[in-house]
């Protein structure tokens, strides 16, 4: 079982979210997700200033074999994207929960955070998928 930091929130579609405590959140894909995808070759990030809705696709991660949508866990406005991924998409493979973060949102409804999974619930979900 890959590590699942307890301070993060998770989605069933394998995104993680960190509440920065100032009305913004940082979002990426989980260690488990990058393992499934394999070596990433390209990341298509949303535009700064774009508004995204919870559950809508807003980014794409592409490996040599597949391209997968990344769904935003919450609604808000994109305030920053990880431009370093442009030249180094493999950062997500190497450090999914750290330097491999994808984008930051300014929350439009902090209440949406309540609906997300905690680390234990996400681990249970992954364990179930593996059986």
């Amino acid at each position: 079982m890959s590590n699942t930091p307890s301070e993060l929130r998770y989605t069933k579609s394998h995104e993680w979210l960190r509440d920065e405590g100032d009305g913004t959140v940082t979002i990426g894909i989980t260690e488990h997700a990058q393992e499934l995808l394999g070596d990433l070759v390209f990341v298509d990030l949303p535009e700064v200033g774009a508004s995204v809705e919870a559950g809508n696709d807003c980014a794409v991660v592409e490996s040599v074999k597949a391209a997968s949508d990344v769904y935003s866990p919450v609604s808000g406005e994109v305030v920053e994207v990880n431009e370093a991924l442009d030249g180094a998409p493999e950062t997500i493979n190497e450090d999914a929960f750290g330097n491999g973060w994808m984008f930051k949102l300014k929350l439009s409804d902090a209440g949406e955070l309540e609906g997300l999974l905690d680390a234990a619930a996400y681990e249970a979900l992954v364990a179930e998928e593996e059986h």
Partner: protein, 465 residues
């Protein structure tokens, strides 16, 4: 690869394995009202002898006219080796093969095609081809709307100097995605896109400007200026070019300060016969930064485990079989056979040969238009520089003149009255490298007689009463 049809027993076994009684049952979920039923207008079969006779009769009706029509499809010399090699069994396929990597020769050929197209257009990347020039432009438009994230309008600026059929095909393909073509007028003096009409759109939100080179009138556009203008106004520059013209004109990748963003066009001048309108092929090239938005097949060169070179389909993650409804396009093959011919054609001609073909076509068109304009009442409509076509105004209705010329076995050009009613009695003419001085002279003489038969000249002798 052998093609072995299923026997009745095979079919019965397979249906039995999945528990279905008949093949028709497999289509049960399609509602009856959506089915077309029996085909009623297809005649029953003919014996081979009858078919041969019918086709020979029809071929005779076509005759062997002298061709001075261009308008998107051009009568060029094709060296005999091109189709001799193209129709060899090893090459003879219409598409990218299934299990593509098992067909290394075909993939290498497509890789060479892509390399030649990028050399010809000075663009970074080429795909392995599309169906034809007009649908390649539609794909370029879709690509521009996806790629230009700053633009939200889904509008494209399209000059009226673009081929009218291209405008219609683009409309058919993109309208259901809510993409709108906004037309830009042309300058009636030069036949180029009207710079002032274009300026009126400065600062507005458009995803791209389409820049034809040469344009439908055969006239060369001010491509550097147009490319810079489009990019300065937040638009992508889409070049629609005749590939042969790229051999002697500035290639699209060098237009303006940044180069065109996308370059597409019709590949027919490179080794495909006129053949009553097809099959032809489209090409699509772009800047490297846009490659993930490019539709269609791209062949890459790589090394295998032993370090030996090999060819492979690359960037497939953009395509339908992986990306499903979010694919860049429903295109997931290419126009293999025509591209094989084009690649062999370009290899035989070389850069020098293509330049000579292009230069000779230009020279012949100048000769043709000078010869025709020596007739009273025939004149050039536009004064802009041309590649190998020009619009001429006749002293009699174009439709009548062309009909009478056709009766004398001369295809005298394209009547522009349907698409450009404001141009009176106008025909678009073309003389490729194939047209000899004698043939040009024949056209001039026949047109002279046709005009004389239609124009009543006042009698020079005064009656003596």
């Amino acid at each position: 690869m052998p093609f072995i049809p299923h026997t009745e027993d095979d079919i019965r076994d397979m249906l039995g394995a999945i528990g279905v009684d008949s093949i028709d049952d497999l289509f049960d979920e399609i509602p009856a009202e959506l089915r077309c039923g029996e085909l009623e207008v297809i005649p029953s079969g003919l014996p081979e002898m009858e078919v041969a006779r019918l086709m020979q009769t029809r071929a005779r009706e076509d005759g062997q006219p002298l061709c001075f029509i261009g308008a998107g499809a051009y009568d060029h010399h094709i060296p005999a080796a091109v189709w001799q090699l193209t129709t060899r069994g090893e090459f003879y396929t219409a598409y990218t093969p299934y299990q593509a990597e098992a067909s290394q020769g075909t993939l290498q050929l497509l890789y060479e095609f892509q390399s030649m197209m990028t050399a010809l257009t000075a663009m970074d990347v080429s795909n392995a081809s599309l169906y034809d020039g007009a649908s390649a432009l539609a794909e370029a438009v879709l690509m521009a709307v996806r790629a230009n994230r700053k633009s939200k309008s889904k509008r494209i600026l399209v000059p009226r100097t673009l081929h009218p059929l291209y405008r219609r095909v683009v409309h058919s393909i993109v309208r259901n995605q809510g993409i709108e073509q906004v037309e830009v007028a042309y300058d009636p003096a030069t036949g180029q896109l009207d710079r002032q009409a274009l300026e009126a759109f400065a600062g507005e939100d458009f995803a791209a400007l389409v820049i034809p080179q040469p344009n439908f009138f055969g006239v060369l556009e001010a491509v550097d200026d147009l490319t810079d203008w489009a990019q300065a106004n937040g638009m992508l520059a889409i070049a629609v070019v005749n590939p042969l013209a790229m051999a002697i004109l500035k290639p699209a990748g060098e237009w303006g300060s940044r180069g065109a963003d996308i370059c597409c066009g019709e590949g027919q001048p490179l080794g495909a016969p006129l053949s009553s309108g097809g099959p032809y092929f489209g090409f699509l090239c772009c800047r490297e930064i846009l490659v993930r938005q490019m539709p269609g097949r791209i062949i890459g060169k790589t090394v295998d485990l032993d370090g030996k070179p090999g060819y492979t389909l690359t960037l497939q993650a953009r395509e339908q079989h992986i990306r499903r409804s979010k694919a860049t396009s429903n295109i997931c093959t290419n126009q293999g056979l025509m591209v094989t011919a084009a690649t062999i054609h370009m290899a035989i001609m070389g850069g020098d040969g293509l330049q000579r073909m292009a230069a000779a076509s230009h020279a012949n068109t100048i000769k043709l238009t000078e010869a025709l304009c020596s007739l009273a009442g025939v004149e050039s409509v536009f004064d802009g520089p041309v590649f190998h076509e020009r619009v001429l105004k006749l002293p009699i209705p174009a439709r009548d003149a062309l009909k009478m010329l056709a009766a004398h076995n001369v295809l005298g050009g394209l009547d522009l009255s349907d698409d450009y009613p404001e141009l009176e009695n106008a025909v678009l003419v073309c003389a490729t490298e194939l047209r000899s001085d004698e043939e040009i002279e024949q056209y001039r003489n026949k047109l002279e007689r046709v005009i004389a038969s239609q124009v009543q000249t006042p009698c020079q002798l005064k009656p003596d009463w």
